[in-house]
Symmetry: C2
Subunit: 300 residues, 2 copies
DNA sequence: CTCCCCCATAGGCAGATCCTATCGGCCAGT
DNA sequence: ACTGGCCGATAGGATCTGCCTATGGGGGAG
């Protein structure tokens, strides 16, 4: 059974007649002419198969079944009004669950600085955090499983919007008693990398210039990388936020700043089709305001 | 806030898109073209002020607020369907409260014969009985306070329908040892009447012909009338059903049949505008079938 | 690089809705 | 008994909404 032909406006007309017990006054209240309202009520009665009103001379009576229909119609109209009111009430920006993904070499070190100010700026936001590599983040964005992603690779997907957040410098991570040359010499096997899939691996390789290592020796994460350096396996580059969070290891690992410009651009990705575009832009701007101070706070 | 522009059909479209996650398939399911459905959904979103769907390339996503709107829309549509189904389901004839009025000289003696068969013929009917004089019954019908009325006066009101039920003869009620003449002699003061307002008073007066009494001696009801006859005050006419129900009083009151044609026509009145006209006609026919047998059963 | 998928847009048509004007029935005041 | 007023129904014309087919345009896959 379809709802074709059943109109909420006609139900309003019905209720108006029931209240006024008078077609003319009901029409005035509804803002239409009396014939228009009469015709619509008659049409609705035909559709329902119920004679709701008995047009008695001089007065309008309600039939027993009409009473029941009117009661249900009143509920329906009230709920419709509630729906309209609910839909139209202004909602806090980014309200509700907000799926935020980040790459593993960034999220654990950046998000702690962001979450509290974000909650203050968007009180109704309920962040749901996840950590994945860039490819999975992009797929999550496209499928709707994520709302925004923090990563570093320039994504050429035209359906995604890219908002710059900040530039994160790389620090040279090495044993204190062993200062490697930078940029590295040809086939510098002492440079260690993350395993395949991490965008940081590619960024470090790019930073190495022509003397990029083969990358045969790799770690599954930054913590492992730091411990490998501590054990004298070699050296590597560390993003500034991770270096600040993980810190040096007395007598085993220290960090040395490199020349300006060596690092990576952190961006916020979102779907271009997300209707909350303006709010997302404000979120990106908030991140831009927040990200540099912690980067300076690490003392590099 | 008005419901103008909010259409249940559009809400159905919205739900179809939410289920199918695909405008084209939703349109097919709704039996309209894809552009038609797209336009209506877009219009509805504008009306609500909520972007329910995010048209992402290759897929359709639902926004957080859209989820809430969809949930309410689903409730609304379900209730609308329930209303349609409820309205369209066949209802037992004359179902619900049924206000039946009767004049005092008829109701208590006729209705006991009618009620059980009426309940069998119209099982869903819930009779609500009342007793009043003709003028009040007619007013009750016109105001909608009554559904049908049983009375005897020919009512000329063009808004009421009159269905004959049966002819109720009058019996001469008198002491057994004192058989009055009929028709009465001029100014026969031994003829006693009911008080003003009872149609039976006028009918008896009419039956008396030119020798009608002044009616100075009157009773408030048929029981009182019978007791007045029993006490030797005079005699009177008694409707057959009342005579059967009240019965003679041994040695004090007896009944004597009169020539055929002396009596009153009992009719059922209803509003001509009552939409249950056919069912009311069947009710009148049922009364016609039921009324004569009890009239004969009184043994007169 | 091209074809396909999918939603949006454009233009025209048909039905629904509303309006004003009028009718017909009932009622009340003269 | 007559007549003016009230009230809902009907008639006819204007307008608007909703739907259709055809097409556009962006994105994705082979």
């Amino acid at each position: 059974m379809s709802l074709a032909g059943l109109s909420l406006r006609d139900l309003e007309y019905l209720l108006a007649v029931a209240e006024a017990r008078h077609f003319g006054r009901a029409a005035t209240r509804c803002g239409v002419s009396q014939p228009a309202l009469s015709a619509q009520v008659r049409k609705l009665e035909a559709l329902l198969g119920v004679t709701v009103f008995e047009r008695a001379p001089g007065r309008v009576l309600v039939t027993p079944k009409g009473e029941a229909v009117l009661a249900r119609a009143a509920r329906l109209v009230a709920e419709a009004r509630a729906l309209l009111q609910f839909a139209r009430q202004e909602e806090a920006p980014l309200a509700g669950p907000f799926r935020l993904g980040a790459i593993p070499t960034l999220g654990p070190y950046l998000l702690p600085h962001l979450l509290r100010p974000m909650r203050e700026a968007f009180p109704a936001m309920r962040p749901v955090l996840s950590e994945a590599q860039t490819a999975q983040l992009v797929e999550g964005l496209r499928s709707g499983a994520l709302d925004v992603a923090l990563c570093c690779t320039d994504v050429e997907d035209p359906t995604l919007t890219t908002s710059p957040v900040f530039f994160e410098p790389f620090l040279l991570m090495h044993p204190p008693d062993e200062m490697p040359a930078w940029p590295p010499q040809a086939d510098a096997e002492e440079i260690m990398l993350l395993q395949e899939g991490h965008c940081l691996r590619d960024q470090v390789l790019a930073a190495c210039g022509p003397a990029a290592p083969q990358g045969l020796r790799h770690a599954t994460g930054l913590e492992m990388l730091r411990h490998m350096v501590a054990s004298g396996e070699g050296c590597s580059l560390m993003p500034a936020l991770a270096a600040a969070a993980l810190g040096p290891i007395e007598g085993l690992v220290t960090y040395t700043p490199l020349e300006a410009g060596i690092g990576r651009e952190v961006v916020m990705l979102a779907r271009g089709s997300d209707p909350r575009g303006p709010a997302l832009a404000r979120l990106a701007q908030l991140m831009r305001q927040l990200a540099p101070p912690p980067a300076r706070a690490i003392g590099v």
